[in-house]
């Protein structure tokens, strides 16, 4: 504390490494998984299977991109799985009763956004912890879905235009994968290059500072829950179109997979720090692990145990890197009350 040291400007490489340590580590871990399953199974590294992995990962990735924004603000959205189920069910009910599918899509996106915004309002303007608000949302939204469907699965019917969303391919790519990649790209651009992205980071990094400089901090916080609502609606539609039916039991445990993907990608649950590339890799890693273990003919019950363990391990490693990196600046920081 007594020594004043100017930073050397020669530490660019070190800065880059420490700045991107978590993305690099998840990239390495992802590569490790791919290599492992390529050697242990014959079918993993076939284009057919890889496309299947991406197709299955699409709903998680779409919501994980939005969840990255929420977690960067220091919040959490536990309601996304229930939101997916509700949209899934409502969309199927609407389609089976003859509403044009284009209208259903637009309506569901607005519906998801509105519910998300309502939750965001409770978080940002009423000061209720996001954990509580969205935990209530998790229960309520799933409950509504169950009530509407009475627990039954509702067939969508033969609507080629709608089913294409979940099953079709474009330029040899599954359509859901294209949707997910486009959304991931938008997410990256938003967080890295726009004023809105800057506001999201600022609010998560130091909400009081953001408020003092006149940023619309409350609106920013509410808006990220609206984004997860819209993203959940997209995921719900993708799943309904893939399965050709809507069910209130869709996407159980989905929120945990999404949060795991985001955290695995190096986004800090404390807010302020996040990476879209990390989230992309995190979502793909979870999908690859799930897919690979099935191909290895490991019991699907065991898959959950392995997935959980690997997530814990990976995040533990990331957290170690995190603290090692920040010990030095924290020791010098002039924090006091």
């Amino acid at each position: 504390m007594n020594v004043y040291t100017e930073r050397d400007s020669g530490s660019i490489v070190a800065d880059f490494l420490s700045e991107h340590a978590q993305v690099l580590s998840i990239a390495f871990f992802f590569a490790l998984c791919v290599v492992f399953f390529s050697y242990t199974t014959d079918t993993f590294l076939t284009s057919r299977n890889l496309l299947n992995v991406i197709r299955q990962a699409a709903p998680i990735l779409v919501v994980a991109v939005a969840m990255t924004l929420v977690i960067i603000t220091g919040g959490i959205d536990l309601s996304v799985g229930s939101m997916v189920a509700l949209v899934n069910a409502v969309a199927a009910i609407a389609l089976s009763s003859g509403v044009p599918w284009q209208l259903v899509i637009v309506g569901m996106l607005i519906f998801g956004g509105a519910i998300g915004l309502l939750q965001g309002w409770f978080v940002a303007y009423q000061g209720i912890p996001a954990f509580i608000v969205t935990l209530a949302g998790l229960s309520i939204l799933r409950g509504i879905a169950l009530y509407l469907t009475q627990g039954y699965s509702i067939p969508v019917g033969k609507i080629p235009g709608f089913l294409f969303i979940g099953r079709g391919t474009l330029f040899g790519m599954p359509f859901p994968a294209i949707v997910a990649i486009i959304i991931a790209l938008i997410g990256y651009v938003v967080i890295a290059t726009t004023r809105y992205g800057r506001q999201v980071i600022a609010v998560g990094s130091n909400a009081e500072a953001a408020r003092r400089v006149g940023m619309p901090s409350r609106w920013t916080i509410s808006s990220v829950y609206m984004v997860t609502g819209v993203a959940s609606a997209i995921a719900g539609l993708l799943i309904a179109a893939r399965l050709g039916s809507g069910s209130s039991n869709a996407a159980v445990g989905f929120e945990l997979q999404v949060i795991a993907a985001v955290v695995l990608g190096g986004t800090s649950l404390m807010g302020g720090r996040g990476s879209m590339i990390g989230t992309l890799l995190g979502a793909l890693t979870i999908a690859v692990i799930g897919n690979g273990l099935i191909l290895m003919h490991i019991s699907p019950f065991f898959t959950q145990i392995v997935t959980g363990t690997i997530i814990l391990l990976a995040i533990w490693l990331n957290t170690r890197i995190f603290t090692a990196r920040f010990r030095v600046p924290w020791a010098r920081k002039p924090e006091h009350s």
Binding site: M1, N2, V3, Y4, T5, E6, R7, D8, S9, I12, D15, E19, T193, T194, R195, Y196, R198, I201, A202, G204, S205, N206, E208, A209, A210, R212, V213, G214, M215, G272, R273, F326, P329, R332, K333, P334, E335, H336
Partner: protein, 265 residues
């Protein structure tokens, strides 16, 4: 009890009308009288130090000046014209800036981003990084602040550099009055020197500065005048060349204060 006690050596410093003038400011929080009638003037281009023990009312006073708190009674005037702040944004519009003790920096955003926090330069919805970087460099150069690379995250900087960025940001709003709450309290020796000379450069550019500090030796480096607070009142004002460390310590702890001044609490 309400009246501000004056001590010998206290006198009007300046003939011109003060840039910011406070009269009979009172503020209570519940049963606690934080301020019990404070008069204070700040003149243009001067640095006024405010000292006092903890709970003397320094922070409350500065928060009233920066619009964070509204006084229960009393009046503020800028350049002789009575004003009433509606909030910090209002104070900023009237060219009063405050550097908070916690600096209000976003650790996860780079130096450029922090300098432009809340007023980012954009092209459409996108950040105009190149232009912000250039202007940030100019901002820092104008105050002779050396930060090797402006794209490092603020969390990677030393305490002194972070303080310098917070001051540069406040100065870039072109304030007439800059209030700093304990800018040097947590800094290493060399960093304190850098921040003090930065304060002098800000002052030299014509900005009035109010400096709150517990480090009395700093006052003699940058201040023209010192106001001493005690239990919610201003008990003394001293020109810097009419006082010394021992005198100030006496004023702060209350040894030089007549009994009547303390009876209230």
């Amino acid at each position: 009890m309400n009246s501000t006690l004056t001590v010998a050596g206290d006198e009007a410093i300046n003939e011109q009308s003060p840039r910011l003038s406070l009269r009979a400011i009172r503020k209570s929080f519940g049963s606690v009288q934080a301020l019990r009638g404070v008069d204070l003037d700040v003149f243009s281009g001067e640095c006024l130090g405010i000292v006092g023990d903890n709970a003397a009312g320094k922070s409350t006073l500065t928060k009233i000046m920066s619009g964070t708190y509204l006084p229960d009674s009393g009046s503020l005037a800028i350049d002789g014209e009575p004003v009433q702040f509606s909030g910090p944004a209002d104070a900023r519009r009237r060219r009063i800036e405050m550097v908070y003790q916690d600096l209000s920096l976003c650790n996860h955003i780079d130096v450029v981003g922090n300098l432009f926090l809340g007023r980012e330069l954009t092209r459409g919805p996108f950040l105009d990084r190149a232009r912000m970087r250039n202007e940030a460099r100019q901002m820092l150069d104008a105050l002779d602040i050396r930060i090797p690379r402006l794209t490092v995250k603020v969390e990677q900087l030393s305490g002194g550099q972070r303080q310098a960025i917070a001051i540069a940001r406040a100065a870039s709003f072109k304030p007439d009055l800059l209030i700093m709450d304990e800018p040097t309290s947590a800094l290493a020796v060399a960093e304190v020197e850098a921040v003090l000379s930065l304060i002098n450069r800000v002052k030299a550019s014509g900005v009035s500065v109010i400096l709150i500090t517990h480090r009395l030796q700093d006052l003699f480096r940058v201040c023209d005048r010192i106001a001493v607070m005690y239990e919610g009142t201003k008990v003394a004002e001293r020109k810097i060349d009419q006082t010394n460390l021992q005198d100030l310590v006496g004023l702060i702890v209350g040894e030089a204060i007549p009994d009547t001044g303390m009876a209230d609490s």
